[in-house]
Structure formats: C-alpha cells, structure tokens
C-alpha cells in the first residue's frame, strides 16, 4: 500500500524548455520568464525622458518576438521591479525594440541610471493594438499629448511602411512646455518622407517658440476633418482624451473609430493581478487600446 500522493513535477513539463511566446496566450508557459535583453543605445530626449533601444539576446527569442502597434511590454530590472511600457518602435524592426521612458519613480528612475550594455528583462508583448488593418483606405488622425507621442511612434512607422494604403495622415501634438517636446529631431523626416501633416502646440511657450500656443483642441481650427472617412488614435492624459474625443464625436466621427490607450497601474500584464481593472475589464488584456465607445461604457475609465 502506498499512500503517498504521487508528485506531478511541472518543472519537467515540455513548456520549461520552450521559450515563452506571449502571443500564444492560452498555452502553459513560464509566464515570469523574461527575455534577457541588452540595452544597446540610450538617447536622452529631454530632462525626464530617454529612449532606450534594447535587443533580445537570445536569437530564437528575438525571432519569436513580434508585436503590433499599441502593444506594450513588461520591462524588468531584476531586484528593482517591473513596469509596463508601450513599444515605441516599428513592428518590422526585428532587431531592436524602442522604449521611450519617463523618469517618475523607482524602476524608471533606476532605468535612467543604466548605461548601454546593461541587461534588462522583457516579457510580452501584451495587450490590444491599434487596428491598423481596419483603417486601410481612410484618413488617420493621430493626436498625442505629452508622453502620449511614444506609443504613437509605432503606428506612425507602420503607416509609413504601408503608406500607399492610407490616405491623409495628420498628427496633432501638444505639450505643456517647450522643453518637453519629444522626437522633434524626427519631425522633418515625418513631414517630408513619411508625407504626414504634423502640427504642434504648446501651452506655456518661451521666447524662442515660434509655433502655435494653446491647448491641443485648439489645433482643430487648423485642420479639416472628413468624419465619414477618418479614424482617430488618441494618446495622452485622461483629461485630454476626454476633451478631444468629445470634440471628434461632435464633428461626427463614430466613437468606434476613435482609439485611446489607457494607463493603469499594472503588476503582471496578464489579467491576474487586477491592479489595472477598469470597470469590468482589465487594461492589460482588453486594453490598453480601447475604442472610445467601450471607454465610455466602462465605469471610472476617464
């Protein structure tokens, strides 16, 4: 007689040897296994933002890693913590992942002290994405406030790579202070080569600022929108997209054609920790990209 309950050692299961593929979400995998990645380049953008280029070290993991514009990764500094960060590079760039990170707290503060060559961990990609396929044949209006431009870089790259499939592309970008403008070194390239219309606005300008002054909604005066044929992507602080989306809805853009990226506290990225719960859904699984209709129906989303 053997009363010993036999041991099911899941450490011996096949999933322990295959690298996790976060795109295949229902398969048992090592959900905490981070892809070890090297920080290859760090670009200082402003006093508080840096662009990190990171490269997954293991070739087969790098191979596996594909994402769509709007998705995010969990970026980990072992011993310090893990934070959700939107991917700010092109999905077709299979060598590097670009992450634009603002220094606000523990992990991001430590990240800003890293030097190239340091190893970090990433898990992902996670979350929903901007439905770029659906927008084919239409105008796309991209509206960003502050750091909100970071997650828009990915759809901008996408559009450029599939430029012929889209019609007019307009970017509206507003920040508080002149020193906070991100990626201005790319603006000319975007305008000329990517053939986009890019307008910027600043709330509190200094004497060197030649452009428009005011809130992002003021930029609507300068453009004409064809509500029948336009998709909007909005990224920025909640208060901003509330105003922007209301305005767009007033013009007549259907709410299902506006997409916003929500930000919530996150600890897992996999719909388990509940920290990013909004109303009845999770920002990490059902978001961060939501259409505005859904957002309106979620309790306390904005």
């Amino acid at each position: 007689m053997n009363p010993k309950i036999s041991r099911h050692d899941i450490n011996l299961e096949p999933f322990m040897v295959t690298p996790p593929d976060f795109n295949r979400q229902t398969v048992l995998m090592q959900t905490e296994r981070g892809f070890k990645s090297e920080v290859v380049n760090i670009v200082k953008l402003t006093a508080t933002e840096k662009l990190f280029q990171i490269r997954i070290s293991e070739p087969c993991e790098r191979e596996n890693f594909t994402f769509l514009p709007g998705q995010f990764v969990m970026l980990e500094l072992p011993g310090c913590g893990e934070v959700p960060i939107s991917i700010a590079s092109s999905p077709s760039n299979r060598e590097f992942i670009g992450l634009c990170i603002r220094k606000v707290g523990k992990v991001t503060g430590m990240l800003h002290r890293l030097e190239p060559g340091a190893m970090v961990g990433i898990r992902g990609p996670f979350g929903t994405y901007f439905p770029m396929q659906k927008m084919v044949g239409c105008n796309v209006l991209l509206i960003a406030g502050g750091l909100g431009i970071a997650p828009l870089r990915s759809p901008i790259y996408w559009i450029n790579e599939h430029r012929s499939e889209y019609k007019d592309i307009t970017i509206l970008y507003g920040v508080k202070e002149p020193g906070q403008i991100l990626f201005d070194y790319q603006f000319e390239e975007w305008r000329k080569i990517y053939d986009l219309n890019l307008l910027t606005i600043i709330q509190n300008p200094d004497e060197n600022w030649r452009g428009k002054v005011g809130l992002i909604t003021d930029l609507f005066e300068d453009i004409s929108i064809d509500p029948e044929n336009t998709f909007a992507i909005v990224c920025g602080p909640p208060i901003m997209f509330k105003f922007v989306c209301t305005h767009l809805a007033d013009i007549g853009i259907p709410r299902q054609r506006m997409f916003v990226s929500l930000e919530r506290r996150m600890h897992c990225g996999m719909g388990k920790c509940c920290r990013c719960n909004v109303g009845s859904t999770f920002t990490c699984l059902d978001g961060p990209v939501f259409d505005y209709w859904t957002v309106m129906n979620l309790k306390e989303a904005i």
């Binding site: 009363p3 309950i5 041991r7 099911h8 296994r33 913590g81 606000v104 388990k272 920790c273 009845s280």
Partner: protein, 347 residues
C-alpha cells in the same frame, strides 16, 4: 462520479496512512472568541487527533495553499551588468482535508482565472496538480449564503467528498488517485440504506439555510447604483484594512515586488496577495490615485465580485461563505450591503 461509504474508523486509518508520507492540512482550533466559539484555521496536522472534523468554518479560507500570501516567482543571480534568472515551481504533494463545498467552488472559480483564461498561471497549476482535496459537508451556519450563490454543493474540483451519515461517511469519488487510496481502506459499495440516509442528510442541510441574498438583478444594479449613497454609508465604516480579501476564498488580486540581498548578488521577484480595498491599490507613479476614497475601493470589491466577474465568466466570484463579513472589524458583510442596495433601488 463514483460513490462509496467508509466507516469513520477506516477513515481515521486512511488519514493516518496519508500522514505518513504527505503533508496533510486540516481544520484545527487554537483560540476561542468572546462567545466561547472555537476559531478554526487550516493548518498542517501531525496526527489524526489534531484534525477537528466537527469544525464549523475556518476563519480564513484554505486559498493560501493554492495562492500563497507571499511566493517567490523567480530568483536571480546578479553579476555586474548581467544576470541569470531561475524559475522553479514548488511541488508539495499535499492533502487538504475538510474543505467545504463553497471552498471547492471557490477553487473552481479561481481555476477560471488562473488556468482557463489567457496566460495560465504555472505556479497555481503546480499547486493545484499536487493537492489531494477531501471535501466535507456541513450544516450551514447562521450567516452562510452559499445557497444563494449556487455554491452549496460541489460536483467536481475535489478528489473525495465526505458526507457524515452517522457512523460512516458517504463518499463521492472524483479521481483515480483517490479511488485507489480509499479502496485500500475497506470502502464499501453504497447500500440502499446508506443512500437513504445520505438523502435525508442532504435534505436537512438544504432546509437549514437561514440567510438569503438576492443576486438575480445584481449585475445590473451595480451599474445603476454606481453612484449610490449606500457605498458612501458603508465606505465610511470601512477601515481599508484588507481583512476581507485576505480571508476570502476567491479574492486573488496581488502585487509584485522585487528585492535584492545585502550584497546585490541575488534578487527575488515576489508575489504578494493584495487587496483592492487598500489605499494604493490603483495609485500610479506621480501620485494619481484612480480610487482615492475608501467607499470607491469598497465598491470596486463588490463590483468585481458581482459584476465584473459575471461579465467575464457568467458567474459571481463570491461563493457566499461570509468569511469577509465575519473578519471585517467594521462588520461590513455582503448580505448587509446588497440588501441595502436593493432597498434603495426599490425606494
């Protein structure tokens, strides 16, 4: 499902045998409350005598044997710029004796989140795979409302389920492991007489529910009464102490923290059970808190239990054990809050 009966004498032998080789968890009491009632906990037992099969309800649910309050997810060896990650899934073959139907149903609900939805949780999976569950029927307490939540009986999610029918247990068997074990202890085929007694006991249990909670319109009510004064009223009492979530068999919200050792050569990533009632649950960097007030957080716990989970899995998360009501120092119980909500709605 197969059914057998086992005498209490033989059951004792079985437990003693299980004790020889496995870690066995069961209800045990150490303290008494003011009214002289024993306070039970699920703890490791070392002999059959320690096991209190006549227990009423454990103060805290046995959830922590599947989702520990704190667990190391990964360890790291750090070296200059580089590091190595190590992940092991803890395997503790374990027997838990005496889980109630509601607790087993709670596990099934957790399974929905942890195993059946996206990104199955391997840590939970390891524990779930390696735990033999022996359930136990009981007569409902004054405040149990599991019947309203449809969780007063368990049909699966256990290995053995016992119903006391006098000098023996009527046993439902749900796994081969359990089947093999129980057969070694003279388990008998169910006689007609046993079945009769079993039915009577079951009827008795059913008839003894005193507390009912009407949840039929709850999901809708949660949205309608989102701004209700009821939340404020109860929220003002709430201490934001997280007791409810800690004892609840289904609350699973957690947080992650990472830390190093004193030499910065080792690091660990740790998961710790959290509660949506705690102040900084939804606070983000820069100081913004999406749920700054106690009543909003309290509302969210209910919203998740009775609305959000329903949307995702077509069932409430709550199993009606009223542990949270018992543990809450401020006496906030689902029954009271929901009744209050329904009352204001009617007004």
């Amino acid at each position: 499902m197969l059914f057998k009966t086992i005498t209490k004498e033989n059951f004792k032998k079985m437990v003693e045998c299980l004790l020889e080789e496995n870690e066995v968890i069961g209800p045990k009491s150490r303290d008494q409350d003011l009214q002289g009632n024993k306070i039970y906990r699920f703890l490791k037992i070392n002999s059959f005598e320690e096991l209190e099969m006549d227990y009423t309800r454990s103060y805290s649910s046995p959830k922590n044997y599947f989702l520990p309050f704190k667990e190391d997810l990964a360890t790291y060896r750090l070296e200059d710029k580089d590091w190595e990650q190590e992940i092991r899934y803890t395997i503790h073959p374990r027997v838990i004796i005496g889980m109630r139907a509601c607790d087993i149903n709670a596990l099934l609900k957790l399974d929905q989140v942890m195993l059946k939805s996206v990104y199955p949780n391997p840590y939970y999976f390891a524990r779930r795979q390696n735990t033999l569950i022996i359930g136990l029927d009981h007569e409902p307490l004054e405040d149990c409302f599991c019947r309203s939540m449809n969780t007063d009986t368990a049909f699966h999610g256990f290995d053995l389920f016992l119903t006391d029918i006098g000098d023996k247990y009527f046993v439902a068997i749900n796994s081969d492991t359990a089947y093999i074990i129980i057969n070694q202890f003279n388990a008998r085929e169910v006689a007609e007489e046993d079945q009769g007694r079993y039915k009577i006991v079951k009827e008795q249990i059913k008839s003894k529910f005193k507390t009912q909670v009407d949840i039929s319109i709850l999901p809708e009510l949660m949205d309608l009464e989102f701004e209700s004064e009821v939340w404020k009223k109860w929220g003002d009492k709430c201490l934001s102490c997280g007791s409810c979530a800690m004892v609840c068999p289904t609350c699973y919200c957690y947080g992650i923290e990472e830390d190093t050792d004193l030499t910065f050569t080792k690091a660990t990533k740790r998961r710790f059970l959290y509660s949506c009632n705690l102040l900084d649950f939804a606070a983000v960097a820069g100081g913004h808190n999406f749920r700054p007030e106690a009543h909003i957080r309290l509302k969210y716990r209910y919203y998740h239990q009775f609305r959000g989970f329903v949307e995702a899995f077509n069932q409430s998360l709550c199993v009606g054990c009223n542990r949270c009501g018992k543990a809450c120092p401020a006496g906030i119980s689902p029954k009271a809050v929901i009744d209050d909500l329904i009352r204001t709605e009617k007004k």
